[in-house]
């Protein structure tokens, strides 16, 4: 019996060790929302949860800084809405060298141009996902769980799709979207913070990936 217990405690110890190693290796942060209190679960109403790049959006120019692994790239990120639910996104350096140009038609993603340094599957996939998170297309008729943050009293919408959860944090005072978080299982994959709102548009957007060294800082120049 004693031998059996020792054997089992060894298994648990190894299991815990393995879990710790997995957590360390995956370098993902844990998605934990213990401070959220569920209010209701229902269908999402049309227009209830809107992107900052909503229907009236035309174009915007950001000063952008992108950290890719241990390299920094700075430049200008230009986003323009064109007809037929199409959005173009262009990143150029300060001196005018184009780094990438993407197009989103509804939820389809096209790469029109991309320099070799960004032209890697994992990077393109990540950027595509980030921008889709920001654009928030097709958020209609989805089941949503609505929470309230016990501390800040902010409203939090949780939408689940294909094993991934998206959290949208709404400031209780202003009604502005202040954070978007995407998690897969218990790991947070992307955190987008939208700050310094002026005239309903955030002057700062920070995109952080806990699992991959690709971070993006955007600062509004003109809209």
């Amino acid at each position: 019996m004693k031998k059996y217990l020792i054997k089992h405690s060894m298994i648990y110890k190894n299991l815990i060790k393995s879990l710790i190693i997995i957590l360390l290796l995956s370098s993902c942060s844990i998605s934990f929302h213990g401070n959220l209190q569920r209010i209701e679960k229902r269908q999402l109403n049309s227009g209830e949860l809107k992107s900052v790049f909503n229907d009236g959006f035309n174009k915007v120019l950001f000063k952008a800084r992108i950290q890719l692994y241990n390299k920094y790239f700075s430049g200008l990120l230009f986003i323009k809405s064109i007809e037929n639910n199409t959005i173009r996104i262009v990143f150029v350096t300060e001196i005018g060298i184009k780094i990438f140009e993407f197009e989103f038609i509804n939820n389809d993603f096209n790469v029109h141009y991309c320099l070799e340094m960004f032209n890697k599957k994992v990077i393109l996939k990540t950027l595509e996902k980030d921008i889709k998170l920001l654009l928030m297309n097709n958020l209609v008729d989805e089941k949503v769980k609505i929470f309230e943050d016990k501390k800040s009293k902010n409203k939090v919408y949780k939408l689940k799709k294909n094993g991934q959860s998206n959290y949208y944090f709404i400031d209780k005072e202003t009604g502005n979207l202040i954070k978007i978080e995407n998690s897969s299982g218990i790991f947070r994959k992307v955190i987008i913070e939208l700050n310094d709102y002026k005239d309903g548009f955030p002057n700062k957007i920070n995109i952080v990936h806990p699992g991959i060294k690709l971070n993006i800082q955007l600062k509004l120049i003109e809209s």
Binding site: F78, I97, M117
Partner: protein, 215 residues
């Protein structure tokens, strides 16, 4: 990550130095190229400093949009440059002999030119442009010469595939009055281009050395 930030920087520097624009239709080939080149070399020999404003226009052809930025340009012989964007954002590049300094708002970076082959190459381009020697670099560029009433227009087409990924050609426009660079156009394969115009040029005015010190 074959194309690293240093190559990137090479392109940045290149862009300062080469100029262009205007419709090419009114241009005809320069007949006496060696005379033009020797005049340019003479002008470069006499130029110790350049102070200028610049307007940069990034033209996104598909979107029919332009991104306009403005700033200040300083050059001092032999190898000091200050390239400062002031509108609509702050961004500063300083080259001081073998050191390169970049200030992007709160982030400052320093590079050592001598530690790197590419930076050495940049150095050659810089001095080459200021002294007109870049026009002797037919190893890296196919070089064509044109002129109209107001400008000499030199078209550089890079041979290297790496450069071609960024730019299909670089056009430099020299003002006929004083042979200073007036305009630069960097044209991409997509048809997008960056135009930089140099305005209010002042040649051989005193520029204190501290202009080229890092901050």
């Amino acid at each position: 990550m074959k194309i690293n930030s240093k190559l990137f920087f090479t392109l940045s520097v290149l862009s300062f130095y080469c100029f262009s624009s205007f419709s090419q239709s009114s241009y005809k080939a320069i007949e006496d190229i060696s005379l033009f080149k020797s005049n340019l070399a003479e002008m470069s020999r006499k130029t110790n400093t350049i102070k200028s404003d610049f307007i940069q226009e990034k033209n996104l052809s598909f979107l029919s949009e332009k991104i306009i930025s403005k700033g200040l340009f300083y050059f001092k012989k032999e190898n000091k440059i200050r390239w400062q964007y002031t509108e609509p954002f702050d961004y500063l590049i300083i080259i001081n002999d073998d050191k390169i300094f970049i200030k992007d708002e709160d982030k400052e970076s320093k590079y050592d030119m001598g530690s790197n082959k590419i930076f050495n190459e940049i150095n050659k381009i810089i001095t080459g442009c200021v002294q007109g020697e870049i026009l002797n670099n037919d190893k890296d560029y196919k070089i064509e010469y044109y002129e109209n009433d107001n400008f000499y227009y030199v078209k550089l087409t890079p041979y290297s595939d790496k450069m071609k990924e960024f730019l299909s050609n670089i056009d430099i426009y020299f003002d006929k009055k004083d042979l200073s660079v007036s305009k630069l156009e960097m044209i991409e394969l997509s048809g997008d281009y960056t135009k930089i115009e140099f305005l209010n040029k002042k040649l051989n005015e005193e520029i204190p050395d501290k202009t080229f010190n890092d901050l």
